[in-house]
């Protein structure tokens, strides 16, 4: 026994590392090239997001919510807004709902683009990173035109939005989504049938259906294992039940399937965006909320709101005690469970597979640590 253990090497892939997507520490035990055990240590990016809610009013807490998952700021803002609106019985107009869907789907597209670039960089190909960032740059400048900032938007308010979208902006979106399918096709040309990529990701990191349900995995990771669960179809919120889109799914649950699934999701995002833009151009309306935000007092109660974020299901639980500050806010994010399943996937796999598996799970650390 001791002889066996003395051949094992303990390696620390430390919090500062050029490729763990955030500050995550992995303590690996290697036996030659095979990983025997892995222990992820999180908490390096804990900012007390949930505690911050207890000292601030609802309006003061709203801008900080964008920062829980900075790549999907709109999703977190919507989850919190939805919880508060349901508790306080605030009505939201239909135009607001369409604009919310539009911005959230564009955010999903930009998040998947960044995931693709960094996943390829971990694999060793340096060009796709620059191509996806070039496309993401266009989305971010569109958002800057709309809200004033590229990432921390602070655009939703309780009951509506800060200001309306203009038709000029909607025309720019139409131009943008005309060129996107060609670019996604470019990425597929470089990556999908590439034999090196296929041998590196096929049958690697298989999440079985049973394991996915046991570990509460949600989002694209779950759909890649063959379980077709998507909050936008199961419990439609906003106006998703009026829009026409499909939910892609795959069979095996390996890294290659997760990749093809996210590419398919990007195409679906484009479909939803074009439908929303068509509706918005035809139907003007009111979006600015009539609620006096600084003086908002929410009646007692508790509510959980769910939203399908790019990394899983993001839930926000808000409990209020009748005053202007929440009593408790709890966030449940999708990447936390992906980090939890990582040791199981890495058992008895080769060391170079670490990046193939970890990159394909699309983990982002601010979501894990909050």
């Amino acid at each position: 026994m001791t002889n066996q253990e003395s051949t094992r090497m303990k390696i620390n892939i430390g919090p500062q590392h050029p490729s763990t997507h955030g500050v995550l520490r992995l303590v690996l035990e290697l036996d030659g090239e095979i990983i025997k055990s892995c222990e992820p240590i999180i908490g390096y990016l804990h900012r007390g997001m949930e505690k911050m809610a207890e000292n601030r009013t609802y309006l003061q807490y709203l801008p900080t919510v964008d920062r829980i998952d900075y790549l999907g700021g709109f999703f977190n803002a919507y989850a919190f807004c939805d919880a508060v609106e349901s508790l306080a019985q605030i009505e939201v107009s239909e135009r607001t709902q369409y604009i919310r869907v539009l911005t959230m789907e564009m955010n999903r597209l930009s998040s998947h683009l960044l995931w693709l670039g960094t996943f390829m960089l971990d694999m060793g190909a340096t060009s796709p990173l620059f191509y996806t960032f070039r496309d993401r740059e266009e989305i971010l400048s569109l958002f800057e035109e709309l809200t004033g900032q590229r990432m921390m938007y602070n655009y939703y308010t309780f009951g509506g939005l800060r200001h309306d979208v203009t038709n000029v902006w909607l025309e720019k979106i139409t131009d943008f989504i005309k060129k996107m399918p060609r670019k996604i096709q470019d990425y597929e040309n470089i990556i999908t049938d590439n034999p090196i990529f296929v041998t590196r990701t096929e049958n690697i990191g298989i999440i079985s259906k049973h394991a996915a349900l046991q570990y509460s995995i949600t989002g694209p990771n779950l759909r890649a294992s063959g379980i077709e669960v998507d909050y936008r179809k199961q419990n439609p919120y906003l106006v998703y039940n009026e829009l026409d889109f499909d939910i892609p799914s795959a069979e095996n649950g390996d890294s290659f399937d997760r990749y093809t699934l996210r590419i398919a999701e990007m195409y679906e995002c484009l479909k939803i965006i074009s439908q929303c833009v068509a509706w918005l151009i035809e139907n003007p309306g009111e979006v600015v909320s009539s609620v006096k935000q600084p003086l908002l007092k929410v009646p007692e109660g508790e509510f959980i709101s769910n939203v399908e974020a790019p990394r899983g299901v993001c839930s926000c639980y808000v409990k209020s005690d009748g005053t202007g500050t929440p009593y408790r806010a709890k966030w449940r994010t999708g990447s936390y469970y992906a980090v939890q399943i990582l040791p199981k996937l890495l058992e008895n796999s080769f060391y170079p597979d670490l990046m193939a598996i970890f990159g394909s799970l699309d983990v982002i650390l601010p979501e894990v640590d909050r």
Binding site: T57, L59, G148, M152
Partner: protein, 153 residues
Amino acid sequence: MKALRYIIALIVGHFTVFKHIFKRPVTLEYPEKRNELNEKFRGEHALTSDENGKLKCTACGTCQRVCPSFATIKIEKEKGEDGKFYPKNYSIDMNKCIFCGNCVQYCPFDAIIMTKNYELADEKKSSLTLDINTLKKNYSDTIINKTKDNRWR
């Protein structure tokens, strides 16, 4: 024939990367060229004044109450000659500001705006606390130049 499919995919992939040399580079040569920003951009703050040069701010404290980071805005009130309040000292601590724009959105008198200046780095820490004179000056710069330009050229 899987091998044939892979070889064709490799050639197509190389060609896809190759054709990008004929496209224009998207590099923006900062600091000689800068991005164009629009009116809604959330940069450095400025206190507005009306036609006579008097500040519109009445020191009501709403901006303090909606700011997510608590100690950012500090106001000292004083009663003026015509009975209305005005701020004797108004300071914004840029170390704590998260540029959310709540103060601009919820000010009842449109007394505070955010300019397009985002190059706020400096060598002295004291320049990161904007007091009332700097804020007034930001606004007059904005009116005169139409945009507040960078500090160094």
